[in-house]
């Protein structure tokens, strides 16, 4: 009898935990990944609302590991409105990760953010969509 009660309690708790985890999971993640011809690009955006936000960019070479990235430019555009924000040149930190500082999002809605990766010989563009509240 006691054992059955324990099992029932356990199932009850597990269901609560699963339901809660499901609800939390609905919140989504602010990390996105895109692949270009030569690179795998991962961005993490802190853009939660209207204003200036940093965007952190991880770039991994897919084809030729010896390629040197000359410049990384972040260009946000609000397509619905026909509006662009100033492009920002991202700076690399010690770990090789790039940070585009104070990227300007002037309104809520879906922004298209281009990450342009320039090398001496070619330019790749990764496109992301960021929802600004």
């Amino acid at each position: 009898m006691k054992r059955r009660v324990y099992v029932l309690r356990l199932i009850q708790m597990a269901t609560y935990v699963v339901a809660f985890a499901l609800l939390i999971a609905c919140g989504g993640s602010d990390e996105q990944v895109a692949q270009t011809e030569h690179f795998a690009v991962r961005i993490r955006s802190e853009a939660q609302g209207v204003g200036e936000h940093d965007i952190i960019i991880d770039i991994r070479e897919r084809v030729n590991p010896s390629v040197t990235v000359e410049e990384v430019v972040v260009a946000p555009t609000m397509r619905d409105m026909g509006m662009a924000s100033p492009e920002v040149i991202a700076t690399a930190d010690a770990s090789g990760r790039y940070r585009a500082k104070q990227v300007w999002f002037s309104m809520g809605g879906e922004w298209e953010v281009e990450v342009r990766i320039r090398t001496t010989t070619f330019e790749d563009i990764a496109i992301f969509r960021i929802q600004v509240n």
Binding site: A19, L23, M81, M83, P86
Partner: protein, 478 residues
Amino acid sequence: MTRERSEWNGIMRKLIFRISMVAMVGLAIAPALFFPHAVHAHGGAIEGPQQVYTQAIGPYEITTIVELPPSTPALLLVDIVPRDDIGEATILLRVTPRGYSFDQAPSTQITTVPGPQGVYSTQLPVDQSGEWELELQIEGARGSGIARIPITITPTPLPPYTIPLLITLGSIFLLLLIGVGVSASIQRRERPLLQAVSRILSYAIFGCTVVAGVLGVLQWNTTAQEAQTATNSDAGGGRPHVNVAMTPSVAILQAGKPLSLTLDLTDGGTGLPVDDLVSHHEALMHLIVLDTTGTSLSHLHPARLAPGRFITEFTPDRSGNYTAYIEIERRNSGTQVIARDFSVAGSSAAPAPPAPGFGMRTIAGIQVQATSSLMPLRAARQTTLTFLFSEKEQPIRDLQPWLGMGGHLLARSADGATFAHVHAAETMVPISATSDIRYGPTVRFVYTFPQPGTYQVWSQFKRGGRILTVPLTVEVVP
């Protein structure tokens, strides 16, 4: 005594556990319940309960803010915001279902007072959903005018899971209350029946909590899907082009003589009047009139008179050739610009010298420094044009939002092939007429000039109810 206390503590722990679990699920589903409609922030067509229409009604530029009721019968709330001092004028408002006469329509009247203008609020009864027209008739010292604004009252249905969700949450609350009573009874007298009831209640609360959680997730998903569908349909771009017939009120247009321009919009596919325009940037229509020398610029918002018919007053300030750019947005179809050329007769005055390039200039007593992030400007390269405002060597920080933006920039290539309407890359406001936000001392515009050549540029800002226009001539190199 110790046993009783221990039992009591056990009951309380159980109760706190139940309440905290229910609160946790409640918190998780609250957004789905209380914020069912995802807001698609779109500075263009604002498809919300508040609709904004800026129109030149006769000689007066008036912004009308209409708050659509979610159901009928109800009161239609209307705010009237004159752009500048219109003196003492009477504004008669009437509302009627589309196609009905205004004779028997409910009406209300506003009398404006001279001086700085605020918001005049009024309300009109509406008794059914569907298509309506709101009429504004203005009489004042400067003249009179009329506009008829189309509005659609759509009852807002409750999201499908709202009622079951509310019933479930109500049940949880009720069961918790009963549970408290039963627990207290158990503490007083130990009865097997009460214990059984307590257990059943426990299972019922558990069941209701799970159901509420599932319903919350379903509601969240449904609203997210609806928002996605709305976004997709917004970008649909499925309606035909618009033809515009522009008719001046006089046969021969003379410089310095006021006239009215009537614009008849017809559907490129059916030939029928176009009456599905949505307010974008706070107006149904933006009419930009430029002369070919770039000396004369008018940014007008014609008033709608009837389906497909708009009218505005206009005074050409010099003779020569003009182009009227008509910027409109059909529902679910994006913005389109239609150009119409016309000529103005009169003694041909020598063309004014072209506007200066980047640098400092004084306009209406205000110093404006225009700069570019890219010098020289290059075709197909993005640039940020920045305007820095000061007055008596003090930075200006009280620029007002105009048509939802911190400023508007119009640009035209010398050959007329490119026409641009750029919005300030500053914080956008949902409804500028009632906003307290102020801009300055700098306002930026981000634009990529598509072709090399000479461009005439006009940036427009609002301060103290007046529009400040800053002309500029720029060279774009390949």
